[in-house]
């Protein structure tokens, strides 16, 4: 019997890490399916997480598909379902269905350099590509990370980023100066222009607040990146996750099914309504 796409599978939370506390809290969850299965997925794909009684939310899988032990999600507390997720503890059960979406075309990036540009929680959807790149270092060129947040307390994957500095270029930034902060102060697009990633044989992967993405793309264009070299993931309100409820469409595409990953060449052809 074909599996019903709307029924989530139960998964247990095995680890919770508080990345950011306070009003814009972010927690990273690691989950394992209770029946011991797992699903294969591609970098950039998402899953619908269910908190039964509250609803579902579409969250990107931030762990690399090469990591078989768990599925990792980094979740910003924003509304009903994400608040409920933040109340959960290790051992609690949630529902997961997926994977949904189109994933990054990383097979096309063999041998190329990749620069990751993230803002705030936006680092999570592109983290899976970064991790895959590190696990398969031989397949790709140089990897670099340009990442920023409002304050130093809003940065996610802080320890991981510090460790990464040993093996690749990591350029962090915060919006407003703080006494202990030694790195770049300013918005992420400004940091991009400051660090000038080279555009030849480099793919740029960016995600963050819509306004940041807009200016990062502008900065990359100023640095002579072609539209086909710039990739981003788009967000929209979703309910079914499978392109049927009609909610998340941008033009003829459903972000849950035909996206969320788009190159700027593809995205600029769609109606700018997202």
């Amino acid at each position: 019997m074909e599996h019903n796409v709307y029924i989530p599978k139960l998964a247990k939370i095995t680890e919770i890490k508080e990345e950011v506390s306070g009003a814009r809290a972010i927690k990273t969850f690691r989950t394992v399916f209770t029946n011991g299965t797992r699903f294969e997925y591609r970098c950039g794909q998402c899953a619908m997480l269910s908190v039964f009684g509250k609803g579902e939310a579409m969250i990107s899988i931030s762990s690399s598909p090469l990591v078989k032990d768990y599925l990792q999600f980094s979740i910003l507390k924003m509304g009903r379902v994400t608040s409920a997720l933040h109340e959960l503890e290790v051992g609690d059960l949630i529902g997961i269905r997926g994977p949904y979406g189109n994933g990054f075309p990383i097979e096309n990036w063999k041998g190329k350099n990749i620069v990751f540009i993230g803002g705030g929680i936006g680092l999570a959807p592109i983290w899976s590509v970064l991790q895959t790149g590190l696990l398969k270092k031989k397949d790709y060129g140089k990897l670099a990370l340009i990442y920023g947040a409002r304050t130093s307390k809003d940065l996610v994957f802080k320890e991981e980023c510090e460790e990464l500095k040993n093996i690749m270029d990591v350029f962090l930034s915060i919006d407003v100066a703080e006494p202990e902060w030694k790195e770049f102060v300013g918005f992420v697009p400004q940091n991009v222009l400051d660090k000038k990633p080279s555009s030849s044989t480099t793919i740029a992967v960016t995600c963050g607040p819509p306004i940041m993405i807009k200016f990062v793309i502008k900065a990359l264009k100023d640095l002579h990146f072609a539209d086909e070299q710039i990739f981003t993931t788009v967000e929209n309100k979703m309910k079914c996750g499978i392109g049927k409820c009609g909610r998340c469409n941008i033009g003829p595409h459903y972000v849950c099914k035909d996206g969320p990953v788009y190159s700027w060449a593809e995205l600029k052809e769609l109606p700018q309504e997202y």
């Binding site: 009003a23 809290a25 509304g79 009903r80 608040s83 409920a84």
Partner: protein
């Protein structure tokens, strides 16, 4: 007889002088016999305006849209908006003024009097015409409706085609206006709440069965709420989905918002939706009948609101929508109110 020509001159003058942002009125419909709301911005367009028994809509609803539009603009155009109103519609404007939702100088009221007639009811018309298609409806000199069809003109006495609410009309000429066309003929109303008699005569169980059968049909399209000028809340308490969210709304507030009514159109939810809405309109509904007209499944919503209008009058001596200076029913009390717990 009220004629639109009387108002067109005034309308043209005000638009030419730039005194009004635009005028909300009625124009010929393209898809049936009913008029359509129209927004006249230029003096040349004033000729589109019509006035006849097909002008069923309560245009006051669009004053709510105008306010929402102004709220979003950084430098709003504060000129008043012109609006063509019948007697019932003008009472809706009075309620909005009482609640200080709009100011008197936000609106320039072009009133038309229904005199001894009113507007035509779709279901009654279809029944009388027996398949003939109505193209135009006019009010004759002898108090009759003249219906033009492909097979010639047919006449009916107004009483046979008037909307139910017109038969119980309390204000057949606008109670507030800047300019008026037509005469202020006072209509004597024998039974102001006559339409309720049949339902009030039912036993409690019969009434329950009646409403259960009707509300089981409801598909919660929210047309009744969308068409009502008085349902202007940005966040409706009986809607589990909408929420007035700003950048400052915290995650906790969103998470803790109570779902008073579920989205499923089950009997229990439909009852709560309609009854709470009726209660929220108690002392505010002026019986324009739009909710019942808009309902695609013909649920007799007027009964709910009419009953509360009757109670407002019988219990509190409150007449809805006549005096802009009068406070709203639920925000005031009088010393001779029936119960004394508030004194």
């Amino acid at each position: 007889m009220a004629r639109i020509e009387d108002l067109k001159e005034e309308a043209r003058k005000l638009l030419r002088e730039g005194k009004l942002k635009y005028i909300i009125g009625y124009a010929m419909g393209s898809n049936g016999w009913m008029a359509n709301p129209v927004f006249i911005k230029k003096p040349e367009e004033v000729d589109k305006l019509i006035w006849d028994p097909t002008c069923v809509h309560n245009l006051t609803r669009f004053l709510v849209d105008e306010k929402r539009r102004k709220a979003k603009e950084k430098q709003p155009d504060t000129r008043p908006v012109g609006i063509i109103v019948k007697g019932c519609d003008s009472r809706a404007i009075v309620v909005l003024l009482q609640e200080k939702f709009i100011n008197r100088n936000d609106v320039y009221i072009l009133g038309v009097s229904c005199e001894k007639a009113g507007v035509v009811d779709d279901h009654k018309l279809v029944k009388k015409l027996k398949g003939k298609k109505p193209k135009k409806i006019e009010l004759g000199d002898k108090g009759q409706f003249i219906i033009s069809t492909d097979e010639g003109k047919i006449e009916f006495p107004v009483g046979e085609l008037l909307a139910e609410r017109c038969l119980e009309c309390k204000a057949n000429f606008p109670v507030i206006y800047d300019v008026l066309s037509g005469e202020k003929i006072k209509k004597t109303l024998e039974k102001p709440f006559g339409s309720l008699e049949k339902i009030e005569a039912l036993s409690a169980e019969e009434r329950w069965n009646f409403w259960k059968a009707e509300l089981d049909k409801c598909i919660r399209c929210y047309a009744c709420r969308s068409v009502c000028p008085m349902c202007y809340c940005d966040e409706c308490v009986i809607d589990s989905i909408n929420m007035a969210v700003t950048a400052d709304t915290s995650a906790e507030e969103k998470a803790q918002k109570i779902k008073w009514v579920q989205r499923s159109p089950e009997a229990s939810e439909n009852f709560v939706y309609h009854l709470v809405r009726a209660i929220h309109l108690g002392g505010r509904c002026i019986d324009c009948g739009e909710c019942e007209r808009a309902c695609p499944l013909d649920i007799p919503l007027r009964f709910l609101n009419k009953k509360l209008e009757k109670e407002a009058q019988e219990l509190f001596g409150y007449e809805v929508g006549f005096d802009p200076a009068q406070p709203s029913l639920i925000s005031c009390f009088k010393d001779d109110d029936p119960e004394d717990f508030i004194r």
